[in-house]
């Protein structure tokens, strides 16, 4: 990071990295005093590169979305939240929720054959609010435009000024289904900024909580896929396996999603001890029931037939849109933060066909791998569960990332006496743009299969 760099130079630098094979990771805006600063993040070979620069007072910035499609959503977010205007970005359909959907413009653009359907924000079943503008000619998808951010709750702003001891609770609100991933990523960023050494026992406890999240969220995705395939018994049994994970977490942490366990410097209490005693009581049962439903689901051809070839994404498309997590690994992009962190040697990616089947297979393999990691983490050494020194410092900033169930999750933290800016790059935000190219060529009834094979969380996307 060079002081005095302009936003234009930072953007060009990120675009150069991407043309050299790097993955576009993130773009966000930070306001320091009167200055708006754009931060670009790219990744190559597991290593993150950062470039940042100041936006001129005209608030005009240059869009790189034509060469780097993955940048588009971030540019639109910087426009709607911070007023930074990227030249050219207005030509794209809006993704941020506006009170009036511009149906007239869409209708003009379409012929008589194609009709436009609004799907959302309230849909059938128990789902989070989001809307798709679907252009269809009969039962084929012509194009799908997401309209999201109905659930924007100002959570990045909510961090500002919040005491460090309580701020992980805000992170847990960004995604209530993966609270430990978010709290860990937030705390790791603070710990990086302050050189806080987290004890091994606390690191093991965090690993355990995140892997348990991976198990219940992957089971959620698979149970919904089974339900989409009208496999009622298989779906019920998969939801039952998920329920056992939540009961295990309630028994170990006092919360069915494991909330309230993680703090800056480690864990709030010796949660590893309570995880160990809960594991003695019921981990074998949780594992056995989980593996039994996995065997069942992947032995049911009528379900697999609906997944094979559905919602296919090629590797170049996933790279262009900056996809992460099981969605990327299903298409052969084997990024996994846990490899960089040394938790695992290689990501579990048994199939790379890029279809719903590949993504389901990745989830299956990851669940099995998670239980190995859980067993290993349970063996953590005795010792403190929290760093003794929290190294209070007046100012600083840092990034951290965690492999959440949906994929790579990043936090940026800047503080000046108090938290001044917290920015979140959720895996779901990185993956939703890929939903758009996965649909054309499929038919209406494939929608829920593709949606559930992505397994994304709306609340972390909208924040």
């Amino acid at each position: 990071m060079i002081a005095g760099t302009t936003a234009f130079e930072a953007a060009q630098s990120a675009a150069r990295q991407v043309s050299g094979g790097a993955r576009f990771v993130w773009l966000f805006c930070d306001v320091v005093g009167e200055e708006r600063r754009l931060h670009y993040v790219t990744e190559l070979g597991g290593k993150l590169s950062f470039s940042s620069g100041v936006v001129p007072p005209s608030l005009q910035a240059s869009s790189i979305a034509a060469a780097v499609p993955a940048a588009r959503w971030y540019e639109q977010e910087a426009l709607s939240r911070f007023g930074v205007a990227f030249n050219g970005v207005a030509d794209h359909p809006p993704i941020i929720k506006s009170p009036e959907l511009d149906a007239e413009k869409l209708r003009r653009a379409l012929g008589d054959e194609v009709s436009t359907v609004l799907y959302g924000p309230i849909r059938s079943g128990v789902v989070e609010s989001a809307c798709w503008i679907i252009e269809t000619a009969g039962e084929d998808f012509v194009a799908v435009h997401p309209s999201m951010f109905f659930k924007h709750r100002g959570l990045e702003k909510r961090f500002e000024g919040t005491a460090l001891e309580l701020a992980p609770f805000v992170a847990e609100h960004v995604s209530g289904v993966t609270p430990s991933s978010h709290a860990t990523a937030f705390c790791c960023a603070v710990e990086a900024a302050r050189d806080i050494e987290v004890p091994p026992r606390a690191r093991a406890a965090r690993t355990l909580l995140i892997e348990l999240e991976r198990v219940h969220q992957h089971l959620d995705s698979l149970a919904k896929l089974a339900d989409d395939g009208s496999l009622s018994v298989g779906s019920a049994q998969t939801f039952a396996a998920k329920e056992r994970v939540h009961r295990f977490l309630a028994d170990a942490t006092g919360h069915r999603f494991g909330r309230g366990s993680i703090c800056v410097g480690g864990t709030r209490s010796d949660v590893l001890a309570t995880l160990q005693s809960a594991a003695e009581r019921s981990l074998d049962l949780v594992e056995r029931e989980t593996f039994a439903v996995l065997d069942g689901l992947f032995g049911t051809q009528s379900l697999l037939d609906r997944l094979i070839g559905t919602g296919r994404l090629t590797k170049p498309i996933v790279h262009a849109y900056g996809g992460v997590g099981p969605v990327a690994r299903g298409s052969g992009i084997l990024n996994d933060v846990r490899v960089t962190d040394g938790w695992i040697h290689a990501p579990a990616a048994p199939e790379t066909d890029g279809d719903a089947m590949a993504r389901a297979r990745v989830r299956e393999a990851e669940i099995r791998q998670s239980f190995e990691l859980i067993r290993r983490a349970l063996d953590a050494p005795d010792g403190p569960h929290r760093a003794e020194r929290l190294n209070a410092r007046a100012r600083g900033s840092a990034y951290a990332r965690v492999e959440a169930p949906q994929g790579e999750l990043l936090y940026f933290v800047r503080y000046e006496d108090a938290l001044a800016r917290v920015a979140v790059r959720p895996a779901s935000f990185a993956n939703w743009p890929l939903f758009v190219p996965s649909l054309p060529g499929n038919i209406f009834t494939d929608f829920s299969f593709i949606e559930h094979s992505f397994g994304l969380v709306q609340s972390e996307t909208d924040r």
């Binding site: 128990v126 609010s129 289904v177 329920e243 309630a250 006092g254 309230g260 969380v457």
Partner: protein
Amino acid sequence: MSNWIARGLRSGILTTKYPHAPDAMSQRYRARPLIVPGATAAGLARGAAVCLSNAIEVDGSRATIDMLRCFQCGECARVAPDAFSFTSDFELALTEENVESARDRLRRRTAALGRSVHVRHVDCGSDGSCEQELQAIFNPFYDVNRLGIFMTASPRHADVLIATGVVTHAMVEPLRRVYEAMPAPKVVIALGSAACSGTIFQTEDVAGPVERFVPVDVKVPGTPPAPLTIVHALWVALGRVAARPAGGSE
């Protein structure tokens, strides 16, 4: 090929008998915060100072906890165990006295329907966990279909509206329109502390709690409420069991 029927039979009956018979959650589960008898003013102040949603109000050596603001993080009991503790009592639903007549009407109507009711859900701005816990009441451990409770896609077929999350600006109109589309009599459940009170969310960033936009009959604290808490809340909404009146607990 998988034999799901044999597998289902082998796993036996998982389903709770609740609400017809008592059930319990793990003793460790943090459902309801309580003030420990004999708590000192210092202990109460220490706990109140770490409450991110300002659920605890302290006046010297007396304190009240607003359950509707509590998001069950457990921090008060951790830093001041002499003043605060949690019980695993999951029956958290609260009602206002004045909805008694509305619930009577629904009770009579649902009796005529052979005790079956249909529920429409609206996510007003949740963190995603309320949806998964609401989905969980249909899993084999709870199976609320056995109680005649079903989800419906259309608000025009719905008797009960379950609203989750603090209401965001963009969800105000969709929420109102669903409420208006439902036939009377109807019951509204605000599911989760965020839906009931807005907990940690700042007033300028969100529109507010559910009751600001549609009349709420049953408030269900929890972040998220556990499936058993949701089953209890539905039972309260249908007038089959009495709830505690809304208000702070001493």
